[in-house]
């Protein structure tokens, strides 16, 4: 990026940050509203009391609650009594790895099929691949997980159900790949990813400026890369993060993976409000961060964006 573009780009990015902040505020309002209307007054459990010198109206309670959240006080788990945020931070990383790894895997499967279909049209090969992707997208991920577990136990002698605990086996890190494999293939987003990437790439390849590049004898891929490849890939990946987080909840159950998803499940069982609230906030924050990252890429690549 040239220096002359830096200043307007930073202005656009500042606006994106403001939008993200606004959305996160909205997220906090939604979470607060759910807690506020919940029977059993969970807000008390979080220690937000009327006697705190604030009015007992809901804006007052919201302010008190949000203030604590911003300071990192997510309350204490009803079940374990431990403070929520440090626990979340500990397991959040595991979920992050799982989610991002699975996202990368899904993209890695979708890309070749989409690119081939966009460049060559419908061939028996990519039609079959697309149909297989449809089937994979409809497979219940938990059952697929069982199949993979069964195969890995009986064919490879790996026991990926016990992960996160210190194992004496040499290739312990390999076990962590299995949940990523499962979530990456059966997250349910594969077919849509292929469709989006293929559509966008086809659209760009039909653009006038690609025709000019061909007429010039230039490498078409270099010209089509930004609009036909980079932007659609980042777009669809950031859009699918929420879906993959949802899938992570299930996959963490199947593999007993020590992550946010399993913690959420436990919290829902136990009515552990601080924990589930913290997870909801963290998950939404992660989604918005992903979206922000995508906007950064878009602005960096698109000269038009920095002109606004």
């Amino acid at each position: 990026m040239r220096l002359s573009a830096v200043k307007p780009v930073s202005r656009v990015l500042a606006r994106e940050l403001a939008v993200t902040a606004l959305l996160l505020a909205g997220v906090s309002v939604v979470v607060f509203a759910i807690l506020y209307f919940a029977p059993g007054n969970p807000l008390h459990a979080l220690g937000v009391r009327e006697a705190e010198g604030m009015a007992s109206t809901w804006p007052g309670q919201y302010a008190a609650w949000f203030g604590r959240v911003l300071q990192g006080d997510f309350g204490h788990s009803v079940r374990t009594g431990l403070p929520v945020l440090p626990e979340l931070a500990r397991v959040g990383l595991n979920t992050l790895c799982l989610t991002l790894g699975a996202l990368a895997l899904t993209a890695a499967i979708a890309l070749p099929i989409a690119v081939h279909a966009a460049a060559r049209g419908d061939t028996p090969g990519n039609t079959a691949a697309t149909m297989a992707a449809y089937v994979l997208s409809a497979v219940p991920v938990f059952w697929f997980g069982y199949i993979v577990v069964y195969v890995s136990i009986h064919l490879f002698g790996m026991f990926p159900l016990i992960s996160g605990t210190a194992t004496k086996q040499q290739h312990a890190w390999l076990y962590s790949l299995v949940p990523i494999l499962v979530l990456g293939t059966a997250s349910g987003t594969l077919a849509e990813m292929i469709r989006h990437l293929r559509e966008e790439l086809s659209r760009v390849l039909a653009e006038d400026y690609i025709r000019t590049a061909r007429a010039k004898g230039a490498a078409v891929w270099r010209h089509a890369f930004k609009e036909g490849f980079l932007i659609p890939v980042t777009e669809i990946m950031s859009a699918k993060i929420p879906f993959l987080l949802g899938g992570a909840v299930i996959v963490e159950q199947v593999f007993n993976w020590p992550g946010m998803g399993r913690m959420a499940w436990q919290a829902a069982q136990d009515r552990d409000f601080p924990v589930i609230m913290g997870i909801a906030l963290a998950a939404a924050a992660f989604v918005r961060l992903g979206s922000l990252a995508q906007r950064v890429v878009f602005t960096a690549v698109n000269p038009r964006a920095s002109k606004e």
Binding site: R120, D208, Y209, A215, G217, H223, E227, P303, R304
Partner: protein, 358 residues
Amino acid sequence: MFLSIENLRTYFYSRSRRAFVRSVDGASLGVARGETLGVVGESGSGKTVAALSAAGLVAGSPGVIGGRIEFDSRNLLEGLERYVKVEERDGRVMAAEKDEGGWRKHAESLMRRVRGKEIAMIFQNPRAALNPYSTVGAQLVEAIRLHTNHKSKAEAKERALHWLERVRIDSPRLRFDNFSFGMSGGMCQRAMIAMALCAEPSLLIADEPTTGLDATIQARIVELLGELKAETGITTMLISHDISVIRRLSDRIAVMYAGTVVETGAAAEVLRPRAAEQHPYTAALLASVPSAETIRSKSALQAIEGEVPDTIEQPRGCRFYGRCNRVTDAVRSRCANLEPPLAEAAPGHKLRCWLHAA
């Protein structure tokens, strides 16, 4: 002939209508070295598709299915018969089989050294034709480094600026760093001309270079093209539906209608109003252009009756029959049933018309 297109057939298959769109249906024309051939015709006449076929840029199925394109004594469609099988009935193509992947690979190897370097092409709607994600300068430099000996970035930039000056763009140094969306249509077209010519090609194909631009800008671009033509002596195939542009720049003219060439000849001869040897379509085209005289005499605008035929359903016989206002009883049955050949009516002047055939 430096570029010679013989009996070119480029079809597109419409799945929804289960029929061929016969965009170019047996067109033949030629450009001699150093001259400018103006190809004129209405929308749908096939002139753009013919140009794209010459440059190997046809996208769509099945695309080019027959003919010969000779460029500098090389056949650019060499080997096409091996990849295409055509079934005809009564002279009309009813089915076609084409190994598109195979032909694409083969055509790439034929066109790789030609496209951009020896044959350059400019398009209408210049702002859309430039990459909006890349500066004008970068796109010029790319062309220069690809096709000339100036491989270093610094050298290429110098050449690019030189060419931007040559196309009389204002503030070349500024424009070098501009993006296409920040420039007017006229400037984008100048930039595209620079990008095409900086590779020093021997043939320039210009597809409607002035269409879509403001009238005053159009005149400037035409002027520029004329100047560049005089300076470089480049061979040009100029496509336009605008007769004034064709008139100003062409040495020879080919008139296209419904996918075929109906008249070719020297510009002065083809465009001569009310000439004896003239295709009825050309005559009607010329008559439809309002002139100072028609405005002064306040006479009605002369439109051509009827509509351009749907290139899907091809009637037998002459394609212009039905709109032709010069048909006589003597030739009527032939016009209705048999397509006339493109025959020489005078030295260097060919017509596809039963009125002028021997």
